[in-house]
């Protein structure tokens, strides 16, 4: 079976300060570290595991992004990906979820595939639009928030489990080819081997522009998006926590005293 995995390079903002830049519409990324979007990492692993289980097939890694994205693409290749394509064009910049899905669909349309894997959502914008939009654009069925994949008949049909609220799983059968949006926790992503990394460094990453994909600049990126980001602001929070100040010794003592006073200790 031929599989495609869409991956995105995103900034890690969970542990760093996020500063709005001068434009008000972006953040200062100069001091942030970047890596593969969390659920995309699971999507890569799922594709490679299926290939290994079936003992045949290919995994093609596709990413929309600038040259820096090569780093996450190469990591996916190092783990067992076979080929790679990167979509880069000024025209792709500033796209919302639908515009991104359009570019990916144009790239994937020309490939032979049984399953297209994507992450369920991107950690930066959190849109969660690509899986379902991509399925519709490619004219194949889709399922997202997928946390279990079982191939019933290679190239024909799969059984997938979608994770719903409260951890309830919804199982469905789906015809291939299809698009699956993968949720975190579906598998245990591997680390790339040293040998894999060395081999991946030599692989070619095909770079495609909008024109290469037969796309008009007005269909993609900011021009092809419905949503216009006007500005970022710090979030409106209710009442902030009372922050206990001091060295660990003091803050721990203060907190212990509060818990005692509240009858929690």
């Amino acid at each position: 079976m031929n599989m495609v995995v869409c991956v995105k390079r995103v900034p890690d903002t969970a542990e760093s300060e996020v500063h709005i830049d001068a434009s008000g519409k972006d953040i200062d990324k100069s001091r942030l570290s970047f890596g593969i979007n969390e659920c995309d990492n699971y999507a890569v692993e799922e594709a490679i595991q299926i290939k290994e289980r079936l003992g045949e097939g290919t995994v093609t890694v596709v990413s929309l992004g600038d040259k820096d994205s090569d780093e996450v693409i190469r990591m996916a290749l190092a783990k067992g990906g076979d080929e790679a394509m990167r979509l880069e064009d000024d025209a792709f910049k500033g796209g919302d979820g639908l515009a991104t899905a359009k570019a990916l669909a144009a790239a994937i349309k020309g490939l032979e595939y049984d399953i297209v894997f994507t992450g369920a959502l991107a950690d930066d914008d959190g849109y969660a639009v690509v899986p379902a939009a991509l399925g519709e654009l490619l004219g194949v069925p889709h399922a997202t928030y997928v946390k279990k994949v079982e191939i019933l008949e290679p190239g024909k049909r799969a059984k997938v489990g979608r994770e719903l609220e409260g951890g309830l799983m919804e199982f469905l059968e789906i015809d291939l080819p299809c698009v699956l949006g993968i949720q975190t926790g579906i598998n245990e992503p591997r680390y790339a081997s040293f040998k894999g990394i060395k081999q991946a460094a030599k692989k070619e990453i095909a770079v495609k522009s909008a024109a290469d994909l037969g796309l008009n600049a007005s269909e993609v990126g900011e021009a092809g998006s419905w949503a216009v980001l006007e500005k970022f602001t710090p979030p409106v929070v209710g009442e902030m926590a009372e922050i206990l100040e001091g060295e660990p010794e003091e803050t721990a003592a203060k907190l212990a005293a509060i818990l005692k006073e509240k009858g929690l200790v």
Binding site: G126, W226, L229, M240
Partner: protein, 321 residues
């Protein structure tokens, strides 16, 4: 102003709260609010929705007994084409994200997902949503379109008492295609573990900040000293450091302990949904901008590996005394 469609979400005999919230939010935007209900023998939901809507379009058909995004998409697109609403609100739920983007592509509609606030500029929405795991709010305008589809995060709007008596209009199922290319099989309940954290009085919630499995004793000892049970963020469960029945949040459990002590948890919306009802919330996190401090009552901004062992000591002292 054109009509507003609100998709009623329900599963296994329960109508989800986000449906009523969206109906109440839509009522404040002006225009006629139309609840769209697809289901099998869910008359009670039609009546409930009528209390919040000007009209209820109710398709009663076995096809909708269990949710299937293909069936929903086909039915909704037919109803939208027939009735011509200007705005469609769908919950940003596991159902909604599986449905809305495909529906928007099919109809050539404008789409924004996971909105957390909404104003209107005539027929045009001006939504707000969050970016970077809740660290920023992003304010949007939308380009001109005939139809806007928005998915709405739960608790964006407030549910109020019913104040309308909308007409319930029964509609024939517009879907005739064979949908066997995507077929519902079954629901499977999450596994039940040894501890039911929904019953715990005291919880220590542990997040990715714990870094490695081998650091778990740091929080285990605190929990033991407090007599608390351990709960976790999804990141910790995904990594396999705690079993899935300990997960708090939208795809885990909803807990309401007397104390929720969040250690190394950033406070993503999906986590907070599951613990915001706790009586006292305490957060220990080294990042002063972590969203968890916006919901906590008390916070310590510091390295958990420095604070938690001290806290464990202090608790033990207090208990010993």
């Amino acid at each position: 102003m054109k009509d507003i469609f609100v998709l009623i979400e329900h599963r296994r005999g329960e109508m989800r709260d986000v449906s009523v919230e969206m109906l109440c939010g839509a009522a404040k935007l002006g225009g006629t609010v139309v609840a769209v209900l697809l289901g099998k023998d869910v008359d009670a939901f039609a009546e409930k929705a009528a209390g919040y809507a000007d009209k209820v379009l109710y398709v009663n058909d076995p096809l909708f007994e269990n949710y299937n995004s293909e069936a929903y998409q086909k039915a909704l697109s037919a109803l939208i084409k027939e009735h011509g609403p200007g705005l469609v609100l769908i919950g940003n739920t596991a159902q909604g994200v599986d449905l809305a983007p495909a529906l928007a592509v099919e109809l050539g509609a404008s789409l924004l997902t996971d909105i957390t606030a909404l104003e209107m500029d005539g027929d045009k929405p001006k939504p707000t949503r969050t970016f970077y795991g809740g660290k920023l709010d992003a304010h949007f305008t939308m380009k001109d379109a005939d139809l806007y589809i928005l998915t709405v995060r739960e608790a964006t709007f407030t549910a109020e008492d019913p104040s309308k008596t909308g007409e319930i209009v029964k509609v024939d199922n517009p879907v005739t295609e064979d949908l066997s290319y995507r077929k519902f099989v079954e629901y499977v309940e999450p596994e039940v573990g040894e501890v039911d954290i929904t019953q715990s009085t005291l919880l220590v919630g542990v997040g990715r900040g714990i870094r490695e499995d081998k650091n778990m004793p740091v929080v285990e000892e605190l929990a033991q000293a407090l007599g608390a049970d351990l709960a976790a963020s999804r990141a910790v469960v995904d990594a396999g450091w705690l079993p899935s029945d300990r997960q708090v949040g939208i795809s885990g459990k909803t807990v309401k302990p007397k104390l929720y002590l969040a250690v190394g948890i950033s406070g993503a919306f999906q986590h907070v949904t599951g613990m915001k009802g706790s009586e006292v919330i305490v957060a220990i996190n080294k990042d002063p901008d972590a969203p968890i401090f916006g919901i906590a009552d008390y916070g310590i901004v510091d390295d958990l590996f420095k604070v938690v062992p001290k806290l464990t000591e202090k608790i033990k002292e207090l208990k010993g005394a």
